[in-house]
């Protein structure tokens, strides 16, 4: 057993786990944060996407021990004070989900895209940015729409703040 210490959604947390424990299992089972999903066994679906030290990563393909010492944001860490994050609100508004299983990964991927290229996203860039996230329900159309709407909303918010 190895002690893993992480800063998750602003809180420092520790737990013991086997070295082979995947980060996603640590997050779900040790920390009880079950918003991060496991959708495949092959690193393809992206339902487990979280942010580690400011980068979107697939938490099913990283060991918890590899992540020790890092700063993590999961889907639970996005909404502030009872208000949805603009990306979450846009997914709701534009019906960017059906069954919802892939949604946490989609939202975390979208936030990463906007963090990197906020205000400059295009449909083509969004579709390319979703390469690592699979949705079996929507056909992606409304997901793309939601991400573009959130990007525009957040860009206008930034402008208003300046």
């Amino acid at each position: 057993m190895t002690k893993v210490t992480l800063t998750v959604n602003g809180r420092t947390v520790s737990g013991d786990c086997e070295d082979r424990t995947l980060l996603v299992h640590f997050i779900r089972e040790k920390l009880g944060l079950t918003g991060t999903h496991v959708g495949c066994d092959t690193t393809q679906c992206g339902a487990c996407v979280i942010h580690m030290d400011g980068c979107s990563v697939k938490s099913c393909s990283i060991l918890a021990v590899q992540a020790s010492g890092s700063t993590i944001t999961t889907i639970e860490g996005l909404a502030g004070q009872g208000e949805l994050h603009p990306v979450q609100a846009a997914f709701k508004e534009h019906h960017g989900l059906q069954c919802g299983f892939c949604t946490p990964g989609m939202v975390m991927t979208a936030v990463d895209m906007i963090n990197r290229e906020g205000g400059k996203l295009t449909e083509e860039k969004v579709r390319a940015g979703l390469e690592g996230n699979i949705c079996r329900c929507t056909g992606y159309h409304n997901i793309v729409k939601a991400i573009l709407a959130a990007d525009a909303e957040m860009a206008s918010g930034r402008q208003a703040a300046e």
């Binding site: 086997e18 082979r20 092959t42 690193t43 393909s61 590899q66």
Partner: protein, 265 residues
């Protein structure tokens, strides 16, 4: 996944020492292949020596036209480097189309070439640029580094530390993605370098990445996509699988080579 023991190396020396102590151990870089392989129980290293926290292995340095990319530099950093893009946009483009954004945040150039997957992108760039692979103990020319399917010239416990190359006059990369896995079903890297034209093909060869002498000669006398029209691609040493047979891949090699030349300009 079978049980394993994790070690976080703080320096190259530390990593090599840890590896030497664990005969059945493996170096772990971004883990984008290794962890998946371990999940499927296709690999079961007793120990993992994590290289991701060794500062000396990470980053891109440029000295004139000489480029050095640290082995533990993630694909996303290579794709996003403005300095590198100004000198050799082809390698940035290539890095920016490996896997998906999340894989590019973790996966590294050293991990990619050390694994030498026959469908990986980086081996084509490293071979096509005539790069030199630095290890903890020596330098290996790309021509001698890739020795076969998932096979490279490293000795037991030897570790890739960096990839170095002279920025080419021109270079381009084009790949045809497998529609499902998005791995390169065929990818071709072309480069006009100080020591001549080089053409490296990934995704297609039954021995992994390879150079195409016929294409190199044709492009050396006339750097244009049309110069490749009359050059044939021997299908007998190409991969055949359910996605594409060897003849189909032979055609793809030529089409991708032409697109790569067009991309190089």
């Amino acid at each position: 996944m079978y049980a394993t023991s994790y070690h976080r190396a703080s320096s190259v020396e530390d990593a090599v020492r840890l590896r030497a102590r664990n005969e059945e151990g493996r170096y772990l870089s971004g883990g984008m292949t290794l962890i998946s392989t371990m999940k499927q129980r296709l690999a079961a290293p007793s120990d993992l020596i994590d290289l991701r926290h060794i500062p000396a292995l990470r980053g891109i340095s440029i000295d004139g036209r000489k480029v050095t990319i640290g082995a533990a530099t993630p694909h996303a950093d290579v794709a996003a480097s403005r300095e590198l893009r100004a000198l050799c946009p082809a390698i940035c483009e290539l890095a920016g189309h490996i896997g998906d954004p999340h894989v590019r945040h973790m996966g590294t150039i050293g991990g990619s070439i050390a694994n030498n997957d026959p469908a990986a992108d980086y081996p084509a760039a490293v071979l096509g640029l005539g790069a030199t692979v630095a290890t903890d103990r020596r330098s290996i020319a790309a021509d001698a580094f890739f020795t076969g399917l998932f096979e490279i010239a490293l000795e037991e416990g030897e570790m890739v530390t960096a990839v170095t190359f002279e920025a080419p006059e021109k270079a381009g990369y084009a790949k045809f993605n497998n529609p499902a896995s998005r791995f390169a079903m065929t990818g071709v890297f072309v480069a006009k370098t100080a020591s001549g034209v080089r053409v490296a093909v990934t995704g297609a060869g039954s021995d992994g990445v390879f150079r195409h002498a016929g294409f190199e000669q044709a492009l050396a006398s006339n750097w244009s996509a049309d110069a490749l029209n009359g050059v044939s691609v021997d299908a007998s040493r190409l991969l055949s699988d359910l996605h594409a047979n060897a003849e189909y891949r032979a055609n793809l090699v030529k089409v991708m080579a032409k697109r790569a030349v067009a991309a190089a300009g």
